[in-house]
């Protein structure tokens, strides 16, 4: 119970900070919507091309918006030594990881909840289906899990905005490939049975990388 109280304290603090500054959700949301509008203008006229690349557009938008969001997550902690203060609290590094990961997950889900209807409207696709919601949720868990780890690694570097995508995107590519394919199948009206293999791969990625990131996080914090 004590462990979860501390995790929830970190999430509460991040949510409160975000409500004050709106740094993450607002700026990332603007970016995501701009990307969708640009892709819509680029491919809008060609319906065949649009249908085949639409899942890719969705996940490119989520991926880059996610990187922006993750970049900010630890920068706020770094200011005024707050991250050092966190590590001085009587709490395991794993609790800090879980707290920060859940915060990132919540912010990314909020961005996705707002982005998906806009995507649906611009690309004339019904993405508000149960299948797409499950795929998005599962892929976002893996994305946030790995992203939180790499974000903590990158924050100690001078060019953190560049380091994070360079380190993080290659690791998350398998997840994005699965998410794009699963979303494509779901948008094409395939059954759960057809989606099953992609969903299993996403779940396997989530399990492996949540556990690995949880275990490795302590070492990532060492100077």
């Amino acid at each position: 119970m004590n462990y979860f109280r501390k995790v929830s304290a970190i999430v509460w603090k991040d949510a409160l900070s975000e409500m004050r500054t709106r740094e993450i959700v607002f700026s990332v949301l603007v970016f995501a919507l701009l990307v969708l509008v640009i892709f819509n203008f680029a491919f809008g006229a060609d319906e065949t091309a649009m249908n085949s690349i639409a899942p890719g557009i969705l996940w490119v938008t989520f991926a880059f918006a996610g990187v922006l969001s993750l970049n900010r997550s630890f920068v706020q902690e770094k200011e005024n030594g707050c991250f050092e203060a966190l590590t001085l609290c009587p709490v395991g590094r794993d609790a800090i990881y879980v707290g920060k990961m859940l915060s990132s997950l919540v912010f990314m889900i909020i961005i996705e909840i707002i982005t998906l209807p806009v995507y649906s409207f611009l690309f004339n696709l019904n993405v508000l289906s149960f299948e797409i919601i499950i795929i998005t949720l599962l892929a976002t868990i893996g994305f946030a899990a790995v992203g939180t780890l790499f974000s903590a690694l990158a924050v100690n570097t001078r060019v953190r905005e560049m380091v994070l995508p360079i380190l993080f995107l290659p690791v998350v590519v398998p997840l994005l490939i699965c998410a794009v394919n699963a979303s494509g199948d779901a948008l094409a009206g395939e059954s759960w049975g057809d989606l099953f293999s992609w969903l299993m791969l996403i779940i396997a990625y989530d399990v492996v990388f949540v556990v690995a990131s949880y275990l490795v996080f302590e070492h990532a914090l060492e100077e």
Binding site: N2, R5, K6, A9, W12, K13, L16, S17, R20, T21, Q76, E79, N80, G81, C82, E84, A85, L86, T87, L88, C89, P90, V91, G92, E222, E223
Partner: protein, 246 residues
């Protein structure tokens, strides 16, 4: 020459043996040995780069040692650091405060992290003692550096730590403000705190401490306690061992 402080009758609350810490190829701490008894007020002096901040960071478990052993309340720091941290309060160069949150929200967060049971009363008690009650609900970013430093000291006291590690606590504070805060730090809650603080001010070190440690190039070069704490005397020793006053 290293003058050893008197032996500790009750056993040390902090014990450091053969402590080294390297940053890449740079040896920041070179075999530090020191025992600090409960209730001691120890001033750590030394020129820039002497290793004062690194020593405090290792003792607070913010960074690990490269070799050697640190024991806090008979527990090896490497074994159970999350629990040991409960006994330690830290004031650093940085305020450790979230700028976009209010003083109250910052304190609430840290109370939750340190499992302070009487949270509301404790926050009001500390805020009142450091004289920040009128600014309780102001965002930290709207407060002056001195006010933020007061909050920073208050934050370190929230969980009633037995040991306080203060890295240049006088940053942004005038002498009067520091003296009044020092009184709070010393006597608050009736705990006879063990305090280890770094400073560049020799006379302040002699006034506030009952033991002075001088560091140079990652080593303790002098350790004096009790009757030897005279500012003129310390200044002479400091100049001789470190090459001058900054």
């Amino acid at each position: 020459m290293v003058t050893k402080a008197p032996a500790l009758s009750d056993g040390p609350i902090i014990s450091v043996k053969g402590l080294t810490r390297t940053f890449n190829d740079f040896l920041a701490l070179r075999g530090i040995d020191i025992d600090i008894g409960a209730g001691e007020k120890v001033a750590v002096l030394g020129p820039n780069g002497a290793g004062k901040t690194t020593l405090l960071k290792v003792l607070s478990s913010a960074i690990t040692s490269s070799s050697g052993e640190v024991t806090i309340r008979s527990t090896r720091l490497k074994d159970k650091d999350p629990e040991v941290r409960r006994y330690i309060g830290v004031v650093s160069h940085q305020t450790f405060l979230y700028q976009e949150l209010t003083a109250y929200e910052n304190f609430t967060f840290y109370c939750r992290m340190y499992d302070v049971s009487d949270r509301e009363e404790r926050i009001r008690e500390i805020i009142d003692r450091i004289g920040m009650m009128p600014r309780l609900h102001d965002r930290v970013s709207n407060l002056s550096r001195g006010m933020q430093q007061r909050l920073s000291i208050g934050r370190a006291l929230l969980h009633r730590p037995e040991i306080l590690l203060l890295d240049e606590p006088d940053t942004g504070l005038d002498w009067h403000a520091l003296s009044s805060l020092w009184d709070i730090i010393n006597r608050e809650d009736g705990i006879n705190r063990t305090i280890l603080f770094t400073t560049h001010n020799l006379s302040r070190a002699c006034t506030l401490s009952n033991r002075v440690v001088i560091m140079n190039k990652g080593k303790i070069v002098h350790d004096i306690a009790g009757s030897g704490l005279d500012a003129g005397n310390i200044e002479e020793i400091y100049s001789r061992l470190t090459g001058g006053i900054e």
